[in-house]
């Protein structure tokens, strides 16, 4: 099967910033390669500062890469002009961590969800509203939410709206940047289920960026562990979870543990 996206030796370097003593440049993503098949999930795990969000922005074509290729539908996105990228972006959609900050508080849910249609295509308002209602339905919100505003919604509902906005252009790949980490456990489970169901129904590919190795193992087919801009370990989810080789992975595993051995270590007083 042909991968949805194939990344080869991707490098993202940020120029130094600041006045006076100029900070040296910083390599956020250092020669990273991977591919994602249709209907599968690659989880990108790592500590803060490991470069996973920079990589997510590069894939979403919101940041230009410094070197390397991003192959998508037979074209190298890294080499495309801004004008051409505009036509590609609908197929690579990004969902952010904190839905409270990524949704315009003054707009209604209907307007938020339909905005990508306005940007990308000339579609009549009535058609836009119909599509918005349809896509809300898919994420488990009834049409009555169209007129609500983000602050009237719970965290989980807001994240559903953010996912609906990403889905309305019928993307091939969803880039999910820490979409569960701002949510409570019980809500995390609901959104995780939604992601699984959407993937089954529409064959979407996901890049699931997270520092929660437990959720990564649950949702992903493959896990890539990032540290200091490089992928230090990559493989099937089960393998990474059970037979981690790198210290970074083991440290993330330790942090995620609700494992019986950790509970047994509790001192009874």
């Amino acid at each position: 099967m042909e991968p949805v996206i194939r990344v080869e030796n991707l490098v993202k370097r940020h120029a130094g910033r600041g006045f006076g003593r100029r900070a040296p440049g910083f390599t956020a993503v250092d020669s990273v390669s991977f591919s994602i098949l249709p209907g599968t999930t690659l989880a990108l795990v790592g500590e803060s500062g490991s470069g996973k969000s920079s990589l997510a922005l590069c894939l979403a074509c919101l940041e230009r890469v410094t070197a390397g290729q991003i192959w998508f539908e037979g074209r190298d996105l890294a080499a495309l002009e801004e004008k051409e990228l505009r036509a590609v972006r609908p197929k690579l959609q990004l969902v952010f961590q904190d839905p409270a900050n990524s949704l315009n508080p003054r707009w209604t849910v209907g307007k938020i969800v339909a905005e990508p249609l306005l940007v990308q295509a000339r579609i009549a308002k009535r058609e836009r509203d119909a599509r918005a209602a349809q896509v809300l339905e898919r994420v488990g919100l009834s049409a009555e939410y169209l007129e609500r505003r983000p602050q009237e919604l719970s965290g989980g509902q807001r994240q559903r709206v953010a996912i609906a906005r990403a889905l309305i252009l019928e993307p091939k790949l969803l880039i999910l940047d820490e979409v569960l980490s701002a949510l409570d456990c019980s809500i995390q489970a609901q959104i995780a289920n939604l992601l699984v169901e959407l993937q089954r129904t529409y064959g979407l590919a996901y890049l699931f960026v997270t520092h929660d190795l437990r959720m990564a193992a649950h949702l992903a087919d493959e896990i890539a562990v990032m540290s200091r801009g490089k992928i230090v370990e990559q493989g099937a989810a089960e393998k990474i979870l059970r037979h981690a080789r790198c210290e970074e992975t083991k440290s993330l595993l330790g942090a995620a543990s609700l494992a019986p051995e950790a509970i047994a270590a509790v001192r009874e007083r």
């Binding site: 019980s186 609901q190 995780a192 950790a262």
Partner: protein, 327 residues
């Protein structure tokens, strides 16, 4: 065990702009022993942050304590006047907030911010305070204390900022420190380091911690006891092992099932749908007559609608507020 903090039937309500009343805590009772780590587990709207603020009487202007007692070393915090409160806060009980970058003053050096606490509660000279502050920083940082002492908050990493806040909290050797989601903004490895620091401070100085979180995974292997808060009430409280490995309250059971199970030896139920808790959290505007979890509970019985469950003791200090268990 020697109880240093005892909360009895605590009730807190917020006034809404439209004149409505929100009942954030509805009869919360628990105790904390000297040198004990109590994990408070709750989701958004459970009242966990209200609880943290109330223990130090730091409620916003529209919040009010509607009843109950907070006995700190046998003195009731609820009844204290402003002067008494000032002498207790920071000295006997202190708090560590969630976002260290917001809790620290951006233009004052760390050493001075730690010394400030000593200034508020003592008569030390500036020089003595500086020396003491270095000593306190040495308890929470390893390595270059001088550099930390003279740094501004923005020069420190998130984990270091959180350590600086902890240094402030323990400066006057309080008996109990309330920590409200102190690790929520940190990455997993730093989180673990901070938890280890709490344990060390407990072991060395006998400080008790009330550690508030929404993440059950953090409490395993860390807290001595866990209290589960739901809609302003205690659902379950008991030894960490008992609450996390064999939860008895239907809410705790449902909550822990939401977390993907990846324990060693178990097959990975890859992309299987996770069990979710049906319905949504109850409105805090209405005080229910029966059990607050009843509308979402899979084991509800007829009496749950009308009868409020009292805490039933299941042995070994494990208490569950559910009508399945006769009180």
């Amino acid at each position: 065990m020697n109880q240093i903090l005892e909360v009895r039937d605590l009730r807190v309500a917020y006034g809404g702009r439209d004149g409505g009343v929100w009942h954030a805590l509805n009869g919360v009772s628990f105790g904390v022993g000297a040198g004990e780590i109590l994990g408070v587990l709750g989701e958004s709207g459970s009242g966990k942050s209200t609880l943290a603020a109330t223990l130090l009487r730091l409620l916003p202007a529209n919040g009010r304590i509607a009843g109950g007692q907070i006995l700190l070393e046998a003195a009731d915090v609820v009844q204290m006047d402003a002067e008494r409160l000032r002498s207790v806060r920071g000295r006997r009980v202190s708090i560590v907030f969630q976002e260290p970058s917001l809790a620290l003053h951006p233009t004052i050096r760390i050493g001075e911010q730690v010394g400030e606490v000593l200034h508020a509660h003592g008569t030390l000279s500036k020089r003595e305070r500086g020396e003491r502050a270095r000593g306190i920083l040495a308890k929470v940082f390893s390595g270059d204390i001088e550099r930390i002492f003279s740094s501004y908050p923005h020069e420190l990493s998130g984990g270091q900022q959180q350590r600086a806040l902890i240094a402030q909290a323990i400066a006057c050797e309080p008996v109990v420190v309330v920590a409200d989601e102190p690790t929520a903004s940190l990455d997993p490895t730093t989180q673990r380091e901070i938890l280890t620091l709490f344990q060390t401070l407990r072991d060395q100085f006998g400080i008790a911690f009330i550690f508030i979180t929404h993440n059950p995974a953090l409490l395993a292997g860390f807290a001595d006891r866990v209290l589960v808060l739901y809609a302003g009430k205690v659902a379950e409280v008991g030894p960490t092992h008992a609450v996390l490995s064999s939860p008895q309250h239907p809410y705790t059971q449902a909550l822990l099932k939401c977390v993907p199970q990846v324990a060693a030896g178990e097959a990975l139920r890859h992309k299987a749908l996770l069990p979710v808790i049906g319905g949504s959290a109850p409105s805090l505007a209405i005080l229910s007559r029966g059990c607050v979890f009843e509308p979402r509970c899979e084991e509800r019985m007829e009496m749950c609608q009308t009868q409020e469950p009292a805490a039933a003791m299941l042995g070994n200090r494990h208490e569950v507020s559910c009508l399945k268990f006769p009180a």
